[in-house]
């Protein structure tokens, strides 16, 4: 069991579909090395991937952070805009503002934020148009 909190940060570039997904892959490796249960790793990996892709697809750039404690995995994403005008709408399954180019890559299902919320034990999102979006989630270790 972890005695101290482990913290990591991952800068995410906008529109870089070659590197996209790498941060989520690194986060998954960190959790595997820490010996977390497979169910927790899977939930965090999905959250990390969706959060990362949201920054890549919808923002002008931002970052992901991971804090690992003995009781839970905490993740946060922040971006520098453009912000979400209607968060309730963005949380509806199937709603997407992804461009046709992005949809051609397999994105734009409108399941990103809903997938994050579904896999999180705590979910908080705040956004201001013209400023950016902050997302905070945690996953309790030992709760599948």
């Amino acid at each position: 069991m972890l005695q101290n909190k482990l913290s990591y940060a991952f800068p995410i570039e906008a529109s870089d579909f070659t590197k996209a997904g790498d941060a989520a892959g690194k986060i998954k490796k960190i959790l595997k090395l820490a010996g977390l249960p497979a169910t927790v790793i899977r939930r965090v990996a999905i959250i990390a991937y969706e959060a990362e892709m949201n920054i890549v697809i919808h923002s002008v750039g931002g970052s992901l952070s991971l804090d690992l404690t003995s009781t839970r995995v905490e993740m946060a994403s922040q971006d520098n805009g453009p912000g979400i005008p209607d968060i309730d709408l963005a949380l509806q399954e199937g709603y997407s503002t992804a461009s046709d180019e992005v949809r051609a890559l397999g994105f734009g299902a409108g399941m990103g934020l809903p997938n994050i919320r579904r896999n999180a034990d705590h979910f908080c999102i705040q956004s201001e148009v013209g400023v950016g979006t902050n997302l905070e989630v945690w996953i309790d270790i030992g709760v599948s």
Partner: protein, 125 residues
């Protein structure tokens, strides 16, 4: 179902090989990454017509047993190399997605649905 049997049923080419005893218990077919992240189960094979690097990364993230490209699609060499480097088996079948999924379903491989539809539910009276 053994990957070997899946390969034979779909008459698939093997781009990245699998262990002879590798097995999957469910299958998921989609070209939308977030739908896959939503519905896919563990111990599964992923069928898709999307041969992008991102599909490989999503498959790795979910620890899928194999990715099966349908409709005769083949990934770019660099995408195939990344799958190989990460020990992700890659198969290619000429069957379209619906037919490939239907074939595996008929032979007993389960899907990723969370509810069951009665077989006669949609039959007109």
């Amino acid at each position: 179902m053994k990957l070997q049997e899946i390969c034979e049923l779909l008459q698939a080419d093997v781009l990245v090989d699998y262990d002879s005893d590798a097995e999957a218990f469910t299958a998921c077919g989609s070209d939308l990454i977030s739908d896959i992240l939503r519905f896919i189960k563990v111990e599964t094979v992923l069928l898709t017509g999307l041969t992008t690097l991102q599909m490989i990364k999503a498959a790795q993230l979910l620890d899928v047993k194999a990715i099966i490209f349908v409709r005769g699609k083949r990934p770019a060499k660099e995408v195939e190399e990344i799958a190989k480097k990460n020990d992700l088996p890659v198969l290619c079948t000429k069957l379209p997605l619906f037919e490939a999924c239907g074939c595996l379903s008929r032979h007993g491989l389960k899907g990723c649905s969370e509810y069951a539809v009665q077989e006669d539910e949609h039959v007109a009276e």
